[in-house]
Symmetry: C2
Subunit: 193 residues, 2 copies
Amino acid sequence: MQDLLFDFISKYVSLTEDEKNAIVSVDIFRSFKKGATLLREGQKSNDGYFVLKGCIRTYYILDGEEKTTAFYTEMEGLTPHCVINKTPSEYYISCLEDSILLVSNPEIEAESFEKFPKFESLCRVLSEELLAKEQINFDKFKTSSPEQRYLNLLQSRPDLLQRVPQHQLASYLGIKPQSLSRLRARIMEKNKS
Amino acid sequence: MQDLLFDFISKYVSLTEDEKNAIVSVDIFRSFKKGATLLREGQKSNDGYFVLKGCIRTYYILDGEEKTTAFYTEMEGLTPHCVINKTPSEYYISCLEDSILLVSNPEIEAESFEKFPKFESLCRVLSEELLAKEQINFDKFKTSSPEQRYLNLLQSRPDLLQRVPQHQLASYLGIKPQSLSRLRARIMEKNKS
DNA sequence: ATCGTTTCTTAACTTAAGTGAACGTTGTAA
DNA sequence: TTACAACGTTCACTTAAGTTAAGAAACGAT
């Protein structure tokens, strides 16, 4: 399991045995059951998550409706807004599947950055990369219709369509579950003829 | 003009005179005329931008149509996706107004990070913060109707509605210019009664 | 000052998403 | 096993956005 992490990190920087041991020794690998809630609206937390195995999602409850806005799967990570801003969370985080997560917080990070400046470089590069990717995703969302967004997801993250319930996918696509149903039927119809 | 920058930075870290001089001495402040193009589709570039004064925008040309997806105003910065990924750019960047920008690139940054590790910390914190903010914005976009998005923009960035042409605002809101016109008329109508 | 372009608005029509309700299926818990 | 809740689909209806076209206003360049 740790090897997955080190393989991932090795794309960015090369770690010495010392540095690898340092990561392992802080012992921040945690298992969660499907459905477990990691963060609730209104709650303050310092925990960031990196998915080694499984899938987690962020969602809001607006007018009593659940709105899922993001999914994180293997080798994807999330530092909640409330951690960055020291404010109560606006959204929930929960596990869609049994998951193994790396759980960190600013204190752990500060310590390790002090001992291993290389870790801070890594985090800078990672978050710059994530930011650029998030901006491209946002751009694509803005410039696409719901149908295009669905087809695009089918291309770029086909696994999600299998792992995730339709009504969560719908809000992820910015539409209602009924519209997603209809849209899928429409596409089927087109492909038939 | 530099004071604006140092005021901004001082919210995150405190700089010594030495460090301030280092920033000034690299001389990366640049002036641009309204309409100037900073980056074109297909082009490779290493330049990132930080707006000291003025306004820049990113836009795509899709099916011959200009789609504006982001605006950056005073004390906001952008490292284009193509810089992070070393790929040709998918979008254009141009100046909406006469602007004064801080222009940087990975080489300058690497040098300064070496001399002043504090700068790398600053950049890590800034990009983590920007990422969290971008995610919240994206979430809000997904969970809102075009009309809500317009009203929200009216609240959160009223200056943009003054500075920016309607048709650019429209694509920023994910709709057509005609729809924005109609939507505004609809809101006016509501407020009258 | 004029010409031409760009920008914004309006309108009529088309298309698709939102809404509310019904129904069958699946999954869960007593 | 039954009962209930959650999920996905379908339908009829409403509302709003996309499309195409036209015209008025603002802006720039000559």
